[in-house]
């Protein structure tokens, strides 16, 4: 991950320059735009992993969908960018840039990602996890190696991984795959040199500054610490009992988390794990 801030500070407007230097909004990022083909614009807010960014991007995304739905048909958020797909017959690219810039300027930069405030944009979701013992005979169990490479004991790895809340920075790679960060530096490890061809659904992995759960069986190169029966994507819109009526219709509660939400891992016992695992794979079998 590139840690260097590359946020463009120029805005050409004296008032804005003064605004960005105010104490309460010290780092308000300005968007830059690059083309991403004939019908997409990439709206970038620097190259920094910033815990304030997901909520900010989620608000901008919602405003774009509300205000520009006649020309924009899809907005894909990531760590510090929004990919805006538009209808090239309905708008000129330059005009769209102006409209997007205005929306970004009008979106408040609420830099309180860890606040317990119920009004904060992101909700907190608890995700149960069973941390593999270093000697658990599980195909993709990397716990022993994680302990060895980090120089930490099993208990320390568990305490560190479950000891903080994570931001949902992006959903991608597979339906419902949530990129969570930031991981404590003490357990940051590189991806596997040789990615596995198959990682079981429910596997919890870490890679560099991130952690995530594989929602479905897939290839992957992350270091696997444990298992979670949490359902990240349900095509019928019932993911973990999610019946949130406030979610926009197009999201239809397919995923229990959105970019800007927070995740807290809650360790579970081995017996709870064995029950949950059996139930999880029985359900997987039903749906695939």
């Amino acid at each position: 991950m590139n840690k260097k801030a590359k946020v463009s500070e120029h805005s050409g407007n004296a008032e804005n320059v003064r605004d960005t230097s105010r104490v309460e909004t010290p780092k308000r990022p300005q968007p830059t735009f690059v083309n991403a083909g004939v019908d997409a614009l990439l709206m970038q807010f620097g190259q920094e992993l910033d815990p304030c960014m997901p909520g900010f991007l989620a608000s901008i995304r919602a405003a774009i969908i509300a205000e520009l739905s006649d020309v924009v048909y899809e907005v894909v958020p990531s760590y510090a960018s929004l990919l805006v797909y538009y209808e090239p017959r309905a708008v000129r690219t330059y005009d769209l840039e102006q409209a997007l810039e205005t929306i970004a300027e009008q979106t408040p930069w609420l830099c309180s990602p860890w606040s317990a405030d119920a009004e904060a944009p992101g909700k907190l979701v608890e995700v149960p996890i069973y941390y593999y013992q270093p000697d658990d005979a599980i195909e993709e169990n990397d716990m022993a190696r994680v302990c060895e490479q980090s120089g930490l004991s099993f208990d320390e790895v568990v305490a560190i991984h479950s000891g903080r809340d994570y931001q949902v920075y992006a959903l991608g790679f597979a339906p419902g795959f949530a990129y969570l960060g930031a991981l404590d530096e003490r357990i940051q490890l590189p991806r596997l040199a040789n990615p596995r061809k198959n990682i079981a659904a429910g596997s919890v992995g870490i890679a560099e500054g991130q952690t995530a759960v594989y929602p479905q069986e897939s290839p992957g190169g992350w270091n696997i610490l444990g298992f979670s029966p949490f359902v990240w994507f349900d095509v019928n819109g019932h993911a973990n009992g999610n019946v949130d009526k406030n979610t926009p219709a197009q999201q239809a509660a397919l995923t229990p988390v959105q970019v800007g939400d927070r995740i807290r891992f809650k360790p579970m016992s081995k017996s709870a794990y064995e029950q949950a695992k059996a139930k999880f794979f029985a359900q997987q079998g039903d749906s695939t």
């Binding site: 083909g37 760590y79 960018s81």
Partner: protein, 308 residues
């Protein structure tokens, strides 16, 4: 229920429509026909909606038996189609009766054929689309992202009587060639690549790799120098040309992952991507720059023509 019964699934035969829009923010891939223009023509020949579901047949081998009577149209690459053993030229619509057998053999030219039926195939839509995305386990004949296999049933309508057979005027037939120039609209990290990297791209010929698939067309050739830094993952749009550390470009296609962090030179013109879909591994590829305005003009014309 009327429709077609799959006798042999072939190498890779997939139900496709214009794709699963508006779910990319959840990590759901769009999907859709790789040669969208040929798929549009197949629907146009039958006066179908532009987003009616068709079958994309890659490299041949699909065999179907009709359990209905209906007008069908076949476009795209020529996969030596026969109807009850009789050669059936592509790019036209024709009448199929109960018990008729459609058989796609091996490519004569091109790589992917499109089979449409009047009213489209009526498989169950998943998240608003019938498109098959195998990696996501979504859509297609079973709703779970599977390719066609022996024994599958493809539901579709039944016509009382044959309608007039139509074919596509010669001047509209696409040129299918294994020697292709792709127009690239610079974008994404274009300024992070060195002048030398761009020169390498413009002045060398690349070969379409065996390892290409619906996610991406992998090219092999002169190594393109990549920027000496890493980037945060960002949304990846159709036709993005990403260059991983080995310097071999990958053109991201309809089944691409929604996010990616490799540096990207820009995007190819989608119309060229459709032609690329007809290339076999080993095809020769060159790149040529194109402005965004020119690319958009060509795409607007295409979209308007097919009512997309």
């Amino acid at each position: 229920m009327t429709g077609f019964r799959v006798i042999k699934g072939g190498i890779l035969s997939l139900v496709q429509d214009t794709g699963r829009l508006r779910y990319q923010h959840l990590g759901v891939t769009r999907g859709g026909p790789l040669d969208a223009k040929s798929a549009s023509w197949a629907n146009r020949l039958l006066d179908n909606d532009p987003d009616a579901a068709v079958i994309e047949i890659t490299a041949g081998g699909l065999e179907l038996e009709s359990r209905t009577q209906i007008m069908v149209a076949v476009t795209g690459g020529d996969l030596n189609l026969t109807l009850n053993g009789e050669p059936q030229p592509p790019w036209r619509s024709f009448w199929v009766r109960q018990g008729d057998r459609l058989k796609f053999a091996t490519p004569r030219y091109g790589f992917r054929a499109y089979l449409a039926v009047s009213g489209g195939f009526q498989t169950t839509p998943i998240l608003g689309s019938r498109a098959t995305v195998q990696r996501d386990h979504l859509g297609g004949v079973d709703g779970k992202g599977s390719a066609l296999k022996a024994g599958d049933e493809l539901p579709c309508g039944h016509l009382q009587e044959e309608t007039l057979s139509r074919e596509i005027p010669m001047q509209y037939l696409p040129e299918i060639s294994q020697d292709l120039v792709l127009h690239l609209i610079p974008g994404y990290q274009q300024h992070e690549f060195s002048k030398e990297a761009w020169q390498t791209l413009w002045h060398n010929e690349y070969t379409l790799s065996q390892n290409s698939n619906r996610m991406g067309a992998r090219l092999e050739g002169m190594e393109i120098a990549t920027p000496n830094k890493t980037f945060l993952s960002e949304g990846v749009s159709y036709g993005a040309v990403q260059v991983p550390a080995n310097g071999q470009p990958i053109i991201m296609l309809e089944d691409r992952q929604t996010l990616g962090g490799y540096p990207k030179l820009g995007n190819i013109l989608p119309l060229d991507g459709f032609r690329l879909a007809q290339c076999m591994p080993g095809a020769k590829i060159r790149f040529k720059p194109m402005s965004l305005a020119e690319g958009q003009q060509q795409m607007r014309r295409y979209l308007r023509f097919f009512g997309l």
